[in-house]
């Protein structure tokens, strides 16, 4: 029951209608049952695993909150290791046991589904692990009290709009909302529907359309030239953004139908003027998780250990930044998958950030010397473009099937022999979609903030704009039911 299926829309509509008929005190139960039903529509056996994780973490959190300092430190380490081990076991199962032929049964609700005869990562396990770790660490830090209601706790972890791909919700943000009584709120429901529509536009019209060209080039890299690779990589940058942010919009929009506000995961990342800013705008719930639970604790730990002012004539704080950021982004890369490509993708971002950190004083002097105005539109455009190019380079490693393919593509980008692969249809549809996306995001970035694509006080114009989105989806959307890219992570 993936988001881009009609069955999901029917499911959502039924649950939403029943939700507002259901008695207030039991609404959580309906949402929990709906979440279990949603999860069962994939591979039911994994629900047992999730149930075990929920139960174990529920009781451990209560134990953790009541333990004294010494014991709680030991307990949190145990909890972290346990959760990470479960995630790692399933994430790397096929690497550990490459010949496994496990028979996993998926549920065929309407379309027939293929039998799954090899281990796959249980849906949402990564996001659930990060959410639960965030919860446990906050309990340890005593910034929150453990949730004593097992139903609310289960719903916090399993809430169906966010189970598959996040956002990774902090307990302070979502758990209080679960305790609130949610009444029908017209504005919130309409906002949710608008956001979902924008999400579907991004997924069906932009991401899946661009994916046709990207797959054609990246899956047959030996047959394409540098221009094809440049276009495919630019397309991939927009494909993965439209895919993931489209998913997030549908998730947030779905949650709003029930009166919940989920965290935003994206804030126009391709308008970032630096790599640091890019990560403040890209997959925000994950990047802030990495910052708060890996980078900052590690930097703090190192600053307590590295007592000298300088090492090798370089300030200690710069070394600390380098180590902490490289480790953080290496973990970020490994989390995405096994293989050197993901590791290099992560480390590359770590290196970008280290370079920016180490040279910031130098660039400050340069700007001062040449009297460059940082607020100048030309300088901002230069920064946006240079950041985008660096991100593109990283995306090559993310998308390529192997390290040798990635290096081949990087090398080939600078050669122009061979045929330029042109698929006019995808080009026209894809570029039109990208232009609409850029225009909408430009308006949000430089004119008025907001998560909705169109902000206008003219309701007739609004009816026209949102109606047009539906027509465009019907006209050029790709309805092959392809999965969201981040499902696999």
């Amino acid at each position: 029951m993936i988001f881009n299926s009609i069955i999901y829309l029917l499911f959502l509509a039924i649950v939403a209608i029943v939700y507002y008929i259901f008695p207030g005190k039991l609404k959580w139960l309906l949402l929990l049952l709906a979440s279990i039903g949603y999860y069962l529509s994939f591979i039911p056996i994994f629900l047992l695993l999730l149930a075990v994780i929920v139960f174990v973490n529920y009781f451990m959190a209560i134990w953790l909150a009541n333990a004294n300092d010494g014991r709680s430190s030991l307990l949190i380490v145990l909890i972290i290791i346990l959760n990470i081990l479960i995630l790692a076991f399933f994430k790397y199962f096929n690497n550990l046991f490459p010949d496994n032929q496990l028979q996993l049964y998926s549920v065929a609700l309407f379309p027939e589904s293929e039998p799954v005869d090899k281990m796959i990562l249980p849906l949402g396990l990564s996001y659930l692990t990060f959410t639960v770790l965030s919860y446990q660490i906050e309990v340890k830090r005593k910034t929150i009290q453990p949730e004593t209601h097992l139903g609310y706790f289960s719903l916090y972890l399993l809430f169906f709009p966010r189970i598959a791909q996040g956002p990774i919700e902090r307990p302070q943000h979502l758990i209080p909302q679960l305790h609130q009584d949610h009444h029908f709120n017209y504005s919130m429901v309409i906002e949710g529907l608008k956001l979902m529509l924008w999400g579907y536009f991004k997924k069906l019209v932009i991401a899946d359309r661009l994916g046709i060209y990207v797959n054609a080039v990246y899956n047959n890299s030996e047959n394409h030239n540098g221009t094809s690779f440049i276009v495919a990589t630019i397309f991939f940058a927009f494909q993965i953004y439209a895919d993931f942010s489209g998913y997030t919009d549908i998730a947030i929009g779905s949650a709003r139908l029930f009166g919940f506000n989920l965290s935003n995961n994206f804030k126009r990342p391709y308008f970032a003027t630096s790599i640091k800013e890019f990560w403040n705008r890209w997959h925000i719930s994950f990047s802030t998780w990495l910052r708060d639970y890996i980078f900052l604790p590690l930097a703090y730990f190192l600053s307590n250990r590295m007592k000298k002012q300088r090492y090798l004539h370089i300030a200690t704080e710069k070394w600390i930044y380098l180590i902490a950021i490289i480790v953080t982004f290496a973990i970020c890369g490994i989390w995405h998958g096994v293989g050197w490509t993901y590791l290099i993708w992560g480390v590359l971002f770590g290196l970008y950030l280290t370079y920016a950190n180490w040279t910031k004083d130098f660039y400050k002097k340069i700007r001062k010397h040449f009297k460059i105005n940082r607020a100048s539109p030309y300088y901002i455009t230069y920064q946006i473009l240079s950041t985008f190019i660096l991100v593109l380079l990283a995306w090559i490693f993310f998308r390529a099937d192997s390290l040798s393919t990635a290096f081949y593509i990087v090398k080939s980008v600078f050669t122009f022999s061979g045929d330029f692969f042109i698929d006019y249809k995808t080009f026209i549809y894809g570029f039109t979609g990208i232009l609409i996306l850029i225009y909408v995001e430009y308006c949000r970035e430089f004119r008025s903030e907001g998560s909705l694509p169109f902000l206008t006080n003219n309701w007739i114009k609004e009816v026209f704009l949102y109606g047009s989105l539906i027509i465009i989806i019907m006209l050029v959307g790709v309805f092959d039911g392809s999965q969201f890219i981040y499902f696999q992570y």
Partner: protein
């Protein structure tokens, strides 16, 4: 209360806007579709409703690129048309053959099958190319409904049947079709023999039951109309173990059904790489040679 009425009014207006736009744009798209000279659109339209030739060739891209109707017509003395369409599978050919036979009985129905098409489990999923005919053609409607649970719901929209076709419809307005090729599309260039995979898959697959079902349907409908069906496997540059197994399975199946299989997949005349564009496709020169051989066989049988 006034606020609530206004909200309901806005929702109703939104729905009216959608319905009217859907209907209006749908009508325009239908008109564009019927006028389009786009090579695929006009070919689908022609093969479903207008063919009248004595010899018809059906199949996927291999059919489309391997059989030259002019060559076949010249040798056999009977006019012919290549109905093959790249990217489509057996389900599509079944619809074409069924629609043809409801109109008339050609002298020969040549159906080109290839191992990759027989193994294609998603033959049904590719049929959305036929959604423009959903409302007018009962057979297409039935097959599309059975391939997707929500096709009926989607096709309540007048725009959806033309999903993804806007570009083809617009370019089709200015495109002038090459009538003389009669459905055949030549491909040029030579195979890069270094790109052919040497490894065979570990587990050899069987022909999926869905594909067999459509093959059976094609045989049944031809037999019920007493139309002469020839099933051909055209040349493959380098046959894999899987190809060999699939062709043998096909031969066994057709033997039971008393349908003759003409297998050119291993014919020594086509061991020359100069005749191929890739492992599965003959180039223009290969197609000339192959069409002559097929035409000779047809001519012999017609004498």
């Amino acid at each position: 209360m006034q606020g609530l009425n206004f909200k309901i009014f806005k929702i109703i207006l939104f729905l009216i806007f959608l319905l009217v736009s859907d209907r209006f744009i749908g009508i325009i798209l239908e008109k564009l579709y019927n006028k389009s000279n786009d090579i695929n659109i006009s070919k689908i339209r022609y093969t479903l409703y207008d063919t009248h030739e004595d010899i018809l060739i059906f199949g996927s891209s291999r059919a489309q690129h391997h059989y030259i109707p002019d060559t076949i017509s010249k040798i056999t003395g009977h006019n012919s048309y290549n109905c093959g369409l790249g990217g489509q599978g057996i389900a599509f050919s079944f619809i074409q053959i069924s629609e043809t036979l409801t109109r008339y009985k050609p002298l020969r129905i040549i159906f080109d099958v290839s191992p990759n098409i027989l193994l294609d489990k998603n033959s049904d999923q590719k049929l959305n190319i036929l959604t423009p005919y959903y409302h007018d053609n009962a057979l297409i409607q039935n097959i599309l409904n059975s391939s997707s649970s929500f096709e009926k719901l989607k096709c309540t929209s007048f725009i959806y049947p033309y999903n993804g076709l806007l570009f083809d419809l617009l370019t089709g307005l200015v495109y002038t079709p090459h009538v003389s090729v009669k459905g055949y599309i030549p491909i040029y260039g030579l195979i890069d023999t270094t790109t052919i995979a040497n490894e065979d898959p570990g587990i050899l697959q069987d022909i999926p039951s869905d594909q067999m079902k459509y093959l059976q349907k094609i045989i049944n409908i031809c037999q019920s109309y007493k139309a002469e069906l020839w099933i051909l496997v055209s040349p493959i540059y380098k046959e894999t173990k899987e190809d060999t197994k699939i062709i043998q399975d096909l031969r066994d199946f057709l033997f039971q059904k008393h349908v003759h299989l003409l297998d050119f997949s291993k014919k020594s005349d086509f061991s020359n790489c100069m005749l191929f564009k890739d492992n599965l496709h003959l180039n223009y020169y290969g197609a000339i040679k192959y069409s002559k051989i097929v035409a000779d066989s047809i001519a012999c049988s017609l004498k």
